[in-house]
Symmetry: C2
Subunit: 264 residues, 2 copies
């Protein structure tokens, strides 16, 4: 099994994935390109979910919506196929997680609408460029993610808590981390919280709800960003008949450059 290198283009990485030659967490892969969280729903829920995203842009920053039954993300990833180009998928039925699969071809339906949402991986390259180390990347782990007590704004049948990703940041670099990520509102943007995890309902920072734990060293502050896994938490709440998502940490790598989404 070959491994995507830092020099492969997004299209080349997707071809590796589509051919079954590579599976894994996409953090750090094809740096400088926008990665997308994936949420796929039946058409009868599509308006409510589009509205949910519009009302909750921090956890659900929309990059592209693919119309019912179509599988190519024409605007962000021309030539791509949403059923095969993501390293792993999860299937939820009636709000229950039922399977993790490597392809959606066998479960695809003509009434499915795909939502691609910005991902915090996209601003990690900007933080690295700014000299802010990212522990989970150094350790080769998935980022730590937590279900919080921050309520999203409901829309139709969709409601539920915000999921956040956490990165330990040196006290001296916290302000810079806020500045750097604020430039990328299309990929979660500025932190939603920094400091005491209990203030947003996280009782044990060493036990993330998704992803892997990392240590927080003395002199570091846990900084929390809204996370595109939020739709998964929402799926558990609203119990749609079917919802397909990316597997945690395994994103669609689009052809869009982070720089194209930066504000000022």
């Amino acid at each position: 099994m070959s491994t995507p290198t830092l020099t492969k283009t997004p299209r080349e990485v997707r071809e590796e994935i589509r051919a079954g030659r590579w599976r894994g967490v996409t953090s750090g892969v094809a740096p400088g390109y926008v990665q997308a969280n994936v949420a796929i729903l039946p058409n009868d829920l599509a308006f409510d979910f589009l509205l949910f995203c519009q009302r909750n842009p921090k956890p659900c920053p929309l990059l592209e919506v693919i119309e019912p039954g179509l599988t190519e993300p024409v605007l962000t990833t021309p030539g791509g196929d949403i059923r095969t180009d993501v390293p792993g998928y999860r299937i939820y039925e009636n709000g229950e997680y039922t399977a993790e699969v490597e392809s959606l071809v066998s479960v695809w339906r003509d009434d499915l609408v795909t939502f691609l949402l910005g991902c915090s991986f996209s601003f990690e390259a900007a933080m690295t460029d700014a000299g802010i180390p990212l522990r989970h990347q150094e350790l080769g782990r998935n980022v730590s993610m937590y279900i919080t007590n921050i309520a999203t704004t409901p829309a139709g049948v969709f409601s539920g808590p915000m999921v956040v990703s956490m990165r330990p940041i040196k006290q001296s670099q916290v302000v810079r981390a806020v500045q750097v990520t604020s430039r990328f509102p299309a990929t979660h943007g500025a932190p939603v919280h920094l400091g005491d995890p209990a203030a947003i309902g996280i009782s044990d920072i060493s036990r993330p709800d998704f992803g892997d734990p990392v240590d927080i060293y003395p002199g570091e502050v846990p900084v929390f960003w809204a996370c595109g896994v939020t739709p998964q938490a929402v799926a558990l709440n609203c119990k749609p008949s079917l919802m397909l998502t990316h597997a945690p940490g395994m994103m669609l790598i689009t052809d869009q450059r982070d720089a194209d989404y930066a504000v000022l």
Copy 2:
């Protein structure tokens, strides 16, 4: 008939309008507060239109979507009523402009979905604060608006040309005008064009398609921003059975401050 002054709050201005005591163009009224373009459609078109807005954020920057049949913009304008709080409305049937009315109460239906879209008036206060004069305000006119040859990105049944607003800017202030408006992506943001009107399909700058003409003096550059009247142009193209909009230049004045929508 009383006239809203610069010291009235948005709620007070809306009460004047609702009571029938004031009608007029809202440019310059309640400065510092976000004004909204209004587009109202039957529920069966709501997903397509929401997607159209997502794909065309410059002409259609969504501030709020009110769910079917509901009339209060809870998120941006609590206590407001979309049927009565706008100084003037237009009715389109099958793509044809059929009436201009002062209230939507008699035409309201339970299946109507309201879209509130950011308005360029909202960044005019920022330009004025930056020392950039606005001729149409000085003259007490509505801003000049033009149908261009810039295509929007289609979504479902919706497609059509972008409508822009134009302001003459002194050559020495053009860069500053770009900077100031770039801070407000939720209210159309940076210009879509500056300079030669013919480059975007405007053959006669002295004859706007909507609003009033203004002179362009020697040493001034016409600067063009995406305009929330675009949905009206789109309505003419896709011929929905019913579409209700604000009348040109007559917006919903929300309770949100421009500063809340500024990036950095």
